[in-house]
Amino acid sequence: MIRFIASAAIAATSLVAFAAPAFAHATLEVQEAAIGSGYKAVLRVPHGCGTEATHTVRVQIPEGFYNVKPMPKAGWDLATVTGSYERGYENHGTTLTEGVKEIVWSNGNLPNEWYDEFVFRGTFASTLEPGTFYFPAVQECANGEEAWIDISGDEGAEMPAPSVELVPATSAGH
């Protein structure tokens, strides 16, 4: 009987592990967004590189998320890498052909024991298809890094890129 209880307990643990998706991963706070709408991304960084403190956080802005503005963060330097978009995006009458491709928060200090959030906003192009949209992100520490760049979508992926589910504009309740 004890063995049964143990089995059931482990099964229940697994269930909980599944039901609470990966607090241990770097994730986005809002997991769903409508195509063609603005989105405030809150990147949650739950731990350092092993035991080391994080000093730099980099986020890649893939094609299709435009008019991007990062939020400055006290204690961190903020820089962006800009470049040309593959196509132009309409923004209140003007066509944007270039913008932020990467955001870098650097020279900060986020110990492994602490938690922090990094914020940026932008707009999802109306030409995007519904599905998972990934923002690959890399945490850099003194002697290593945590690269959340796996966009395979594998359930068992060890370090998945932070992602948001894109849904058609109508179903998002505008």
């Binding site: 089995s7 059931a8 697994s14 592990a17 035991t51 690959p136 890399v138 796996d150 068992g156």
Partner: protein, 531 residues
């Protein structure tokens, strides 16, 4: 007590449904070990320490010794930031693997393997998985019965699409399907026990089930249970277009289930082997499924019996032709050109199977060419001969299924062909690719023990790809060994790993993570067969 077994089974099944989602949520991280990874220590350590970045509880700790024997050490492991695993007093000299799986406070299990050696690095090529004899015998019996139930039960359900089953055959097929639906999960648990080297008494052990499930046999079991359910539904319905379609669907799922696992399906090229296994099994299903109904029908002389016999006789060439073609293809892939490697247990089983098949085909041809027509014309002697001959066919088929179930215990010569015993030092290669990237992995020497892994990465035109770093992971879920991961270093355009020890023979899953740029990573997967 009577309630206990089903409840344990239920718990195990619950696990079985959940296991795939509990893989490697990166949180707790292994920081260091004592002895260190790949260390050679003079004296047997009293304990092994695994230090993590946060407290963990051990789930499964297995120690695999130089002889290949698995020892469950979960009970002696402590939890905490440092997990201490007490070692048995009589540790043998040679290379050991400590395969661990722990769960951190937030409920995310992680696993890995620590390789260390006492006195000297060993890795004898003769290492055989030591499985409990009772477990091996039960597994073999369960699989033989499962195959029999699958071919006779689901096969009959499929055959009923062609002709109505006699009542006794329908009842037999029903019970075979019920038995198969139970035997499927039972054989999965036994597969897990066999992989971990646990005794029969550990049947309710969660680890056996999760290990069984993590092998490709897990998918086979699920599909087989679905096939039995579809066959049951089709047999319980009154005969109609619906029940016929369900019967055919059941047979298709059954053929698919066996194409999902096994040596033959694992062989390259998979685009050829998997469809070949599917066709092979589908042909067997039609043939075997028809035998019991025919045997029962031939007891008397009715119009429906004659009709069934005539339609069987008309359709059987369409089942046998793909059966023979796919069988020859698979045998050629598995065995290669004739040579000394044919004298292996795998070769002997194939030889025995082929001899029995020759006998079976002899009977079948005799039946079809010389007995069917007179039997249909009303010749009583021909009818009773045909019936006896079908009885023999059924007996031979059960023996063949028993032989096929024995294949699980022998690796095919294909696996040994790359490095026959006298040439064990030859490197073993694996070719991995996805839509855009290819990797060639070379293991030198191609045997267990300390090895050097060399990986070259290129695009589809063969031009080398500049990577920032390359990580290679080896895992052996068949033996319950958790992943061993190493960073490669770039030397003369080849990514080299020198501190890897492959502890046991068998099929190792290899996965390579290629970091193309800061934000881009490619993962390639494949298999290495270490003889």
């Amino acid at each position: 007590m009577r309630l206990l077994a089903p409840m344990q089974l239920l718990a195990a099944l619950l696990m079985f449904a959940l296991v795939p989602v509990e893989v490697a949520w990166a949180h707790a991280q292994l920081l260091s070990t004592s002895p260190a990874e790949n260390a050679i220590v003079e004296a047997a350590p009293e304990q092994v320490e695994l230090r993590f970045n946060e407290p963990v509880s051990p789930l499964t700790i297995t120690l695999i010794g130089p002889e290949g024997a698995s020892l469950d050490a979960t009970g002696t492991a402590t939890g905490g930031v440092t997990s201490v695993v007490r070692m048995p007093a009589d540790l043998a000299r040679g290379t050991h693997v400590l395969s661990w799986r722990v769960v951190s406070a937030d409920g995310h299990p992680i696993g890995g393997s620590l390789v260390f050696s006492i006195g000297e690095i060993t890795g004898s090529a003769a290492v055989e998985p030591t499985s409990d004899r009772a477990v091996a015998a039960s597994l073999w019996a369960a699989k033989t019965l499962l195959f029999t139930a699958l071919f006779a039960g689901v096969g009959a359900a499929g055959f009923s699409a062609l002709a109505p089953l006699p009542p006794l055959a329908r009842t037999a097929a029903l019970w075979l399907s019920v038995a198969g639906a139970v035997l499927g999960p039972v054989s999965l648990g036994l597969q897990g026990l066999d992989a971990l080297g646990l005794p029969l008494t550990a049947f309710a052990d969660v680890r056996a089930w999760s290990t069984g499930f993590s092998t490709s046999y897990g998918a086979t079991t699920i599909a087989a249970v679905l096939a039995f359910a579809a066959a049951l539904a089709s047999l319980l319905m009154p005969r109609s277009g619906w029940s016929n379609s369900l019967g055919i669907l059941a047979a298709a799922i059954a053929a698919l289930s066996l194409a999902l696992s096994g040596h033959a399906s694992a062989a390259a090229p998979q685009w050829l082997t998997r469809p070949a296994v599917f066709l092979h099994i589908a042909g067997v299903l039609f043939w075997v499924g028809a035998l019991l109904p025919l045997w029962l029908l031939l007891r008397g002389r009715t119009d429906s019996a004659d009709k069934t016999l005539a339609s069987f006789s008309r359709f059987i060439p369409y089942a046998v032709a793909p059966l023979v073609l796919s069988g020859l293809t698979l045998a050629a892939i598995q065995m290669g050109w004739p040579g000394t490697h044919w004298a292996t247990p795998y070769g002997f089983i194939l030889g025995a199977k082929l001899s029995l098949l020759a006998l079976l085909f002899g009977l079948a041809i005799w039946n079809r060419r010389w007995l069917t027509a007179p039997a249909l014309a009303g010749d009583t002697l021909a009818r009773s001969r045909l019936r006896r001959s079908i009885g023999w066919e059924m007996a031979i088929i059960v023996v063949i299924l028993g032989l096929v179930a024995g294949w699980r215990f022998t690796p095919p010569p294909r696996a040994l062909a790359d490095a026959p015993a006298e040439l064990v030092a030859e490197p073993i290669m694996a070719h991995l690719m996805d839509g855009e990237t290819m990797a060639m992995v070379m293991v030198t020497p191609g045997r267990v023990g300390p090895v050097v892994l060399e990986t070259t990465i290129s695009d589809f035109e063969g031009f080398p790809i500049d990577a920032q770093n390359v990580r290679l992971t080896l895992a052996n879920p068949d033996r319950g060994i958790e992943p061993i991961t190493r960073e490669a270093s770039l030397i003369d355009e080849v990514w080299r790993i020198e501190d890897m020890t492959i502890p046991v023979t068998g099929n190792w899953q290899v996965s390579i993570e290629v970091r193309i740029s800061r934000f881009e990573m490619v993962r390639l997967r494949g298999e290495l067969i270490i003889p």
